[in-house]
């Protein structure tokens, strides 16, 4: 009950502001108008008369697919390389400088390059998402692996673990809490980047719809697209948190995750 109070209050104030005429209707549509546009966007018939009617499901799937593919690449590469960087000084020496340099460049600066290199094509979006969300994942995984308590390494050694197996037996599990932190940040970034990519580099998807709505001056659809992205971003974050809850069962009661 308490959880719903603020969202409902925001909607009521919004409706009140629009209804009272303080803000011109052209600058801010009412929540009801947004809901109506959203309804048509989702359930309306697909016709050549409307650029958006009935396209929501397809656009959601397009954005989702780009996020899933890009983020999967980032997660796999980031966790793998990160743990190696955190554990082997030689790997850290090789990659640390490059990663920190690339990390300092905002991902949006790569958009023109990606469009030139890949063209208006799926791979441009996947590249931006994978490349961008790779950095928080790799940096957190490396930090987690680096902080493996030395005493646990020693414990494993005296229990019979051979040096080459320490990475899998001790370093990886010890790094898991940090890895999940990186995955959450990375996934959030993946949603930022899919919208940027769809606005500028590829066709279809929620970012594309957002940009089209802007060009047609459809503020109601802009707001509906924003809400859609919010719901998907929140949902995917919940999934990662649920996954972390299962994998980090041993931490229950120790952290707030």
């Amino acid at each position: 009950m308490r959880r719903c109070t603020v969202p409902v209050a925001i909607l009521l104030v919004w409706q009140g502001v629009v209804a009272s005429g303080w803000v011109p209707r052209a600058s801010l549509p009412s929540p009801a108008a947004v809901a109506e546009a959203w309804w048509i966007w989702i359930f309306g018939p697909v016709t050549s008369l409307s650029w958006y009617s009935g396209t929501w499901g397809l656009y959601v799937l397009m954005s989702l697919r780009r996020v899933i593919v890009g983020f999967a690449i980032a997660a796999g590469a980031g966790v793998g390389l990160g743990v190696l960087i955190g554990w082997y000084a030689a790997v850290e020496d090789l990659f640390d400088g490059v990663i920190n340099f690339l990390r300092a460049v905002p991902m949006t600066a790569w958009v023109p390059f990606a469009v030139f290199f890949f063209g208006i094509h799926e791979s441009a979006a996947v590249f931006l998402i994978a490349f961008g969300s790779f950095f928080p994942v790799v940096v957190n995984a490396a930090a987690g692996a680096r902080q493996t308590p030395r005493i646990l390494i020693r414990a494993a050694r005296m229990l019979g673990t051979r040096p080459r197996k320490l990475l899998v037996r001790v370093v990886l599990p010890a790094a898991l809490p940090a890895i999940f932190t990186g995955l959450r940040v990375g996934l959030g970034l993946a949603w930022v980047l899919v919208i940027v990519a769809e606005m500028l580099a590829v066709q279809g998807g929620l970012g594309y719809a957002l940009w089209s709505a802007y060009q047609f001056s459809r503020l109601d659809l802009i707001l509906a697209a924003i809400a859609s992205v919010g719901i998907l971003g929140l949902g995917s974050d919940r999934l990662v948190v649920a996954g972390a809850g299962r994998v980090l069962r041993w931490q229950r009661g120790l952290t707030g995750l």
């Binding site: 646990l152 050694r157 229990l159 931490q251």
Partner: protein, 262 residues
Amino acid sequence: MACEILIACRRLGKSYHDIRHGERVVALDEVSLEIPRGQFVTVIGPSGCGKTTLLNIVAGFEQPSAGELLVEGQPIQGPGADRGVVFQEYALFPWLTLRQNVEYGPRERGVPRAEASEIVDRTLRLVGLHGAENRYPHELSGGMRQRVALARVLVNDPKILLMDEPFAAVDAQTRASLQREVARLWAETGKTVLFITHSVEEAVLLGDRVVTLTPRPGRVKDDVAVELARPRDPTSPAFNDYRRAIERLLANTAAPTEVSGG
């Protein structure tokens, strides 16, 4: 057989470079010690006397910078399951349950599943831990964690038990019960034990021998055989004679080298 030397430290030295103070620190100097199979040896000394360094060298965690260490007449090759270590900080794997922590060693050594499960059961019974097997370390009390730490080492049937101030972090009552437990386990299993402590009472209570070390650099100050029947009574006059004698040894070593390190 009674006199077979299991662990031989020959003029062991360990020095390292203290980066913060830019000086060479001698942790151990010319430490010679022979431990026969089956003996319970306690090592006591003021903090910073290198007693943990000695244990780390026997465990294979650190390399001596001088002298040699032989186990069964052979130099050791790093840490191994033949020398089980019980740490003060428990060092249990927090992502494994109690039972998985105990199973860890047998798994790593490639013991077949059925056999491993059997020896794990037996070991858990030995240390009185059945029942809480699916709990994670953070859900256990300090005393129980240390029992798990003991169990996961005993399950490997090591030749040597190395215990590094194992009961320093638990409350007095738990400590007393763990001490009794260790004395009982030692009597039952006949393991050779090297036990580091800073408690004189604990050293006399458990040790066949009490080795005292001097503060930096750590040298063997004295090596006292404790000839008291077990189980020992810490309130008996004979016990107190040993305690007084060892306290005096420690007091003599502590004073003159107490200089500020900067």
